[in-house]
């Protein structure tokens, strides 16, 4: 089977600043892939290049065997940023409806109401962003990203601004949401700088080096498919943490 996302020798310069250097990897359907690397190494830039929002200096991205521009037009990407990026003048429900409104879509995609229920905000439909906690706002952002059934969910440190307890909870919630909505979305690219988070969530981890970033290693996470918090005490999990930490340290 052909991979959904093909990253082919992506190089990026911002003026004279060399950010990414010949980055290549593939992402298959139903994979949860984390991109991890030292801060400032260009993880976000890489994600933006994959989603077509930033152009690479050299190299190519293929999404389902077509160009990234076509993919952007076909709305193959659901984006979740570090900040929730909710419109403050719209309540939770109207924020989730925003993509459908822009696409002028009246068909039978996911009902925004149902998605809010899936992310656990059923009774918060009418709440405005400034009335919701950081974690709740991010849930709204996730629901919004799923409305138009994108092929790939791109998440840029989505829980980076949350406290650790909320973050752990949101990790579990994300897995639950993905499990429930497996028919909609099954492929996730997740940028993080938290090693435990990357291991807990992913099937595959792409470890980047310092800037200019290259792919240092691609690690397969062979933990059981359904993840529970107990995994965090398993030997395998701790070994993986050790392994990624060592890779990141070497620079």
């Amino acid at each position: 089977m052909k991979p959904i996302v093909e990253v082919k020798k992506i190089t990026k310069y911002y003026n004279s600043l060399h950010v990414l250097d010949e980055i290549s990897f593939d992402i298959n359907k139903e994979e949860f892939v984390s991109i991890i690397g030292p801060s400032g190494c260009g993880k976000t830039t890489l994600l933006k290049i994959i989603s077509g929002l930033v152009k690479p200096t050299k190299g190519k991205i293929m999404i389902k065997e077509s160009s990234v521009e076509t993919a952007l037009k076909r709305r193959e990407f659901g984006l979740v940023f570090q900040n929730p990026v909710l419109l403050p003048w719209r309540n939770a429900l109207r924020n989730v409806e925003l993509p459908l409104e822009i696409l002028n879509y009246k068909g039978s995609w996911n009902s925004p109401r149902k998605l809010l229920e899936v992310v656990g905000l059923k009774s918060f439909e009418n709440f405005y962003p400034n009335e919701l906690s950081g974690g709740m706002q991010q849930r709204v952002a996730i629901a919004r990203a799923l409305t138009f059934e994108p092929s790939v969910l791109l998440m840029d440190e989505p829980f980076g601004a949350l406290d650790e307890i909320t973050r752990d909870k949101m990790n579990l919630e994300l897995l639950r949401i993905l499990e429930e909505e497996r028919s909609i979305i099954s492929t996730v690219i997740f940028v993080t700088h938290s090693i435990p988070e990357a291991i807990f969530l992913s099937n595959k981890i792409i470890v980047l080096s310092e800037r200019p970033a290259t792919v240092k290693e691609i690690i397969k996470v062979d933990l059981p498919k359904s993840r529970t918090p107990e995994i965090k005490y398993s030997k395998k999990y701790i070994e993986l943490i050790e392994c990624v930490r060592k890779l990141l340290k070497k620079d």
């Binding site: 952007l72 709305r75 984006l79 822009i102 405005y128």
Partner: protein, 259 residues
């Protein structure tokens, strides 16, 4: 919680009023003790009895000035907003016309007022135009700023829905600029009244500026004070009206420092 809000409100209303009353008492005492002639500084009691005596006439003149200010306000702000939207769509227009907008802003309205009266007569129109001219710049600058100051993440988000330019404008840029627009509108309320009164100074047969000017000629200082107070009340009312509308429209903005 509720109690605190009530206390805060009380502070907002009660404190200014008590200070105001205190100043009036001090003023009255000052004029009385030093025996200051009425044509220099009348007593507050005299001013208020003057207002009470001529209330209908004062209200009529204040009404005219406020009408001029309000129409000028609407006109200037509408035009300024439209020009700002054009600027935000065309860099050529912005670069080519912005210096003239600044020139218009830096030319004192006092210097332009005689010309406006010459062109538009001593009636209501010259005052409306003067008001519109002073309202034009704040809304222009703020709207341009508001339309442009959209966070990059929001733009990326809308692009990922393949939003078109006009959709980005309507769904994102325009609502984003509302807080900026309202801060310009609030500045303009005072300016609009100034514009109208300046227009009346130059040539008018009615309005609060006309009353102030004629009472100077006749050394009717009491009347002048009455007129000044009426114009101030009109301006304050105008400001709070816009402030109230802002609270409904820009409800998501924290309005603690809304001045």
């Amino acid at each position: 919680m509720r109690k605190k809000i009530i206390e805060k409100r009380l502070g907002e209303i009660f404190l200014p009023i008590s200070f105001f009353l205190g100043i009036l008492v001090a003023w009255e005492a000052f004029v009385f003790i030093f025996n200051i002639p009425e044509y220099l500084l009348p007593k507050p009691t005299e001013i208020f009895s003057e207002i009470a005596k001529n209330l209908s006439s004062l209200l009529k003149h204040t009404g005219i000035t406020m009408l001029e200010a309000a129409i000028g306000f609407l006109l200037g702000n509408t035009l300024g907003f439209i020009v700002a939207v054009i600027f935000s769509h065309s860099e050529t227009a912005e670069k080519g016309l912005y210096p003239y907008a600044i020139a218009l802003k830096t030319t004192p309205i006092l210097a332009m007022a005689p010309l406006l009266v010459l062109w538009f007569g001593t009636g209501i129109i010259s005052k409306i135009v003067a008001s519109a001219v002073v309202c034009f710049f704040p809304i222009l600058v703020n709207t341009v700023k508001g339309l442009k100051s959209v966070d990059k993440d929001y733009l990326d988000l809308l692009k990922s829905f393949s939003a078109k330019k006009h959709q980005i404008f309507i769904k994102l840029r325009l609502p984003n600029s509302l807080p900026y627009i309202f801060s310009a509108l609030k500045i303009s309320t005072g300016l609009a009244v100034v514009g109208a009164i300046v227009g009346e100074f130059v040539g008018a047969k009615e309005g609060i500026g006309f009353i102030i000017l004629t009472s100077t000629y006749h050394l009717e200082t009491v009347k002048m004070f009455a007129a000044i107070i009426m114009s101030a009340l009109g301006g304050i009312l105008f400001f709070y009206l816009i402030n109230l509308i802002e609270k409904y429209i820009v409800f998501w903005q924290k309005t603690e420092n809304s001045f």
